[in-house]
Amino acid sequence: METLFFLIVSIVAIASAVMVIACRNPINSALSLILTFFCLATYYVMLDAPFLAAVQVMVYAGAIMVLIVFTIMLLNIRIDATRRHSHMIFFGSIVGFATLFNTVYIVMKSRAATPATTVNVEALKAGHTELIGREMFTNFLLPFEITSILLLVAIVGAVVIAKKKI
């Protein structure tokens, strides 16, 4: 049953990912990307990581994709402006397939090399959200705080670049 579900989700994920690059209308591409993100969220659920799944939907499918769709609408890109470069597609697909082959090879090899990791029972019992929060405020307190500086820099940068008159 799980295998069947996995197969269905995978087919949808790959098909929507192909749609992202095959669609000529950028809005359609963006909407297909949302579908891809949902499929990835489903994978996280199947891997017993519900918190990550929720974050995936909220942050990517929610916040970021809204921004992308909004930008496309604001810029009002015309469809005929996108020309196709056949030699680009040729070299791109070579690089893409090489990367795909490489990744599959690495995953297969390392699966054979390392024993299957045991599921952390304690983590499942406590719930992921609590566990992640706990780690964030103890072991990873410093990285958590640095993010605030990173966001501040990004805000200042956005103002510097976008302000009408500086």
Partner: protein, 485 residues
Amino acid sequence: MDMITFPTIDMTPILPEIYLSLLAMALLLINVFMPGRQKGYLGYISFVGVVAIAVMTASGWGIEVSSFSGSVIQDKFAIFFKIIFLLSAGLSILLSDQYMEREGCNHGELYPLILFTVVGMMLMACGTDLMTIFLGLEVMSVSLYILAGFNRANIKSNESGLKYFLLGAFSTGFLLYGMALTYGATGTTRIFGISGQLSQMAAPAANIMLLAGMLLMITGFAFKIAAAPFHMWTPDVYEGAPTPMTAFMSAGPKAAGFAAAIRILVISFPALQPDWSQLFWILAVLTMTIGNITALRQDNIKRMLAYSSIAHAGYALVGFAAGNETGVAGVLFYMLSYAFMNIGAFAIVILIAKKGETNGTVQDFAGFAFKRPLLAAVMSLFLFSLAGMPPTAGFIGKFYLFSGAVQQGYVWLAIIGVINSAVSVYYYLRVMVFMYMKNPSEEFEWATVTAPVALALIISAAGSIILGVVPSYVMQFAQQAAKLI
């Protein structure tokens, strides 16, 4: 549900970062509430702040503290690099005012952004956790993208910022993927924990996930230090960015990339040293050769210095490939002397150029020595140092780097390095030929040297000479700092 027990936190290792962030935020507020278009005085405030923080950082020498449950450490290695970052930031701040006035930019936000860049670089140097290092790198990069595109009226500056942003974000993806794979293979992001896991593995070199992680991380760092074949962004970004920021970019962030890469590879992956050492052998040869050969053909002085900075990253990679204490100490010493001589050279470029970044070719140096003999002499000093002639800092730096490689048995690498160094003499001397042996093509007013730029020139010239004449004083600090394990 039990309460979270917070670990005891010692702030000592990140005190410089905290003070710098506070200073930067204070400057942002001052910038908002103070009237006036020209904000040159912010530069003075930030320069004084940088000097004070440098003194404070240096006073921690010899005190080793690890904090935040192993995310961050204060050791001699981190302090040495922090001083390099503060030095390059301080010198660039001194250069910024005159340049920005000439280009007519309002530069209130420039100084806080430089300080934030330093915060990011410092976190890369003192982080002992992959997450800390990654976030430090992001803080550094995001600030740099903005600094590169800071001169919004100039189309080249816009191009520079956008190009740096797109390629930089792409390369960060590689780095992050590498970190994720390393975490997958070892189950920890602490770099001391990774080395512990590796020592327990029977054959870490056969673990392909770990190898892939390491390779991807090296790719990410090679981009940040502009090593060939990941150097394509460098000339365009360096040419377009405001010149003081180009000077800053070529000295500070490059050193930060080396700091993080050395710490991760030397501490976490000693078991794989034969593998990464060979890889850096190839990277070093490619970087030196491509940088030097391409620099031969450049007429634009900023582009030439960009390719020369690629070549210098190659020399530093020679010491890195050796991976022994002499080599690593050589990298530390070289990064310090490179900050002095390169920022000094860029200061002269700022004086030569005119509004809108015109007048920036090697030919425009014609007759410089007749008009301003002292400045031409100082420029010659920097060029000699970059070319690696004795008795300048560049010569001593290369000497330590190559002797590290010879100690490790990489004699051929050292020979290729010396040949490259000889090639580089051509394009550095070409500038001097124009300065001393050609007549100026047309009469024009040379820029006046303002006090901050003069101070920056004095500091860089003094550094280039002192490090060359009495290197042992600084070298003993570098050698202590290089004792990582």
